[in-house]
Amino acid sequence: MNWLALRMLTGDRSKYLSLILSITFATLLMTQQVSIFMGIVTRSASQIVDVRDAELWIMDNKVRYIDEAPYLPTSDLQRVRSVPGVEWAVRFHKSNMTARLSDGNFRNIVIMGIDDSTMVGAPRRMVSGNLVDLNLPNAVFIDKAGYEYMWPGEPFRLGREFQINDRRVVLAGVCKASAPFTTLPVVYTRFGEIERLLPANRNLMNFILAKPTSGLDPLDVCHAIEERSGLMALTQDGFFWKTINYFLGSTGIPINFGITIALGFIVGAAVAGQTFYLFTLENLKQFGALKAMGVTNIRLIGMILLQASVVSGMGYGLGMGMTAIFFTFTNRIAPMAGIHLTTIAASGVGIAVLAIILLTSLFSLRKVLFLEPAVVFR
């Protein structure tokens, strides 16, 4: 009977192809949008994820997300260091500035100031140059995508100079960093250099990065810091989700992507549903004949579900393949760097495709199950 179901399905090639293509299209649209959505939202907290060596982030207790953190007095660093359970704590700066290039062009940048002595928060992967070179006077690192944005088409050339806040800086390395939400270049320098670049500011530390003593629950240490300092202390994971939730709740991004994803689902369901339903309707007499010849409802359900599974499996596979190809190519474009097909997107869309095909089959099944075999004589 499986053979019969498959021959019925594949015999009409145009319908077979349109069924597969409708699922492929729905899969491509949904997976691509879910992946881009996840990528963009994750970017909002990418600088948090990039700091691998500190487990705790301490900041003003009114901070809502990473890009909106006021500066803290240096005394707060000492207060945090004095909390029992804190193994070490270092200062960290993050802000947006403007870089002026030698040709007069300027670019907005995200600048990160890391602790001079410990280098906590420094980039982990260098594309060109060595981490130790950040200790050189006026030295900055820039992320690979940022370099390509600031000097498009030019090979990596260390030692080139530009200005930040009218102060001369020297490019000492090109590193890999997760793309920020705004796709601005990410510039790393030492905290000491930040003090040189922003001399007018009284305080320049907007975060304290810390590590709890080994064996202690990081959440317990966070509570202790909050009690003693009046600051907000979060684990890296906690700060990551706080930032993401801010973007989800305060921007139109989820609604915008949600609409596209829903449209993908609806269009996929409508096209696949209509085609599959029409396919069943056109074969209704044949299904009736099969019923008359002794095919039970259970076997008919099996046949239709097999047809639906084949169509959804092929469509899903093709859609995933096309999405993977899409991201393989777009990953080479700087604004799309780091956005890729995720397991969550693939699984979620798999469930959505399953829902589409079950919904579709349900309508077709209803028609076939309630079909009187005597219809063949009408």
Binding site: W3, L4, G288, A292
Partner: protein, 250 residues
């Protein structure tokens, strides 16, 4: 014309009634039909459109439930049969030939003819061998790998007959098998059905209003307004028989 003893009869209908709908929309399709179908014979059910002949064969074939009456098909009381058993009974014992052939358009002639055996659980190889043999016997050996839309109406109906016979059912139920065919093809199909009917353990019921084929019937049951009005038994000595070599009609 009712047999005095029902033993050995292929179909015995007694006081079969069928109503559709209820209240003001109620329609009475059959009003106490009595009918006997003999094995080794072709029984024609004839009458105007709407007289109840299609309803009657649907009930005989186990596709429709009678509202009242008793019905024995091949010695089994099918009115009291459970759904699953009835499906199995149909699968094993009844072959169907439809007016519009109802061939699966995406299957070739041999695949279509093999369908009842596939349904019965035979392997594809066994089913195709049997289908090949039966298609050869209906003169379609050279066309068995063609799709229905590549065959003429007469050829499609012969594929449908091959499909109806491939699992060797004891009762063949045909609904207007010649209605969509030209005279020549209609004759060929009826000759083929007649040859089938001449086998002593098999009965053929043909619903038709095509008076060109009345001469093929061993018994002609006339129906009108849901009742059997007359049963004719033509003199067979003047009827066409199965001497025609069907394989020559391609």
């Amino acid at each position: 014309m009712i047999a005095k003893t029902t033993e050995g009869l292929a179909v015995v209908c007694r006081q079969i009634s069928k109503e559709f709908g209820s209240g003001e929309t109620k329609t009475v399709a059959l009003r106490g039909v009595d009918l006997d179908v003999f094995p080794g014979q072709m029984t024609l059910l004839v009458g105007q459109s709407g007289c109840g002949k299609t309803t009657l064969i649907s009930i005989i074939a186990g596709l429709l439930n009678a509202t009242s009456g008793s019905l024995s098909v091949l010695g089994e009381d099918i009115i009291g049969m459970s759904g699953t058993r009835l499906v199995q009974f149909r699968q094993k014992n009844i072959g169907f030939v439809f007016q519009q052939y109802n061939l699966l358009p995406t299957l070739t002639a041999i695949e279509n003819a093999a369908v009842p055996l596939i349904i019965a659980g035979k392997s594809r190889r066994q089913a195709f061998e049997a289908a090949k043999a039966i298609l050869s016997s209906v003169g379609l050996a050279s066309r068995m790998h063609l799709l229905p839309n590549q065959l003429s109406g007469g050829q499609q109906q012969r594929v449908a007959i091959a499909r109806a016979l491939v699992h060797e059912p004891r009762l063949l139920v045909c609904d207007e098998p010649t209605a969509a065919l030209d005279a020549q093809s209609g004759q060929t199909v009826m000759e083929l059905l007649r040859r089938v009917a001449l086998q002593p353990d098999r009965a053929v019921i043909v619903v038709t209003h095509d008076n060109r084929v009345f001469s093929f019937g061993d018994r002609i049951v006339h129906m009108d307004d849901g009742v059997v009005t007359n049963v004719e038994v033509p003199d067979r000595t003047t009827q066409p028989d199965s001497k025609v070599v069907l394989a020559s009609h391609t």
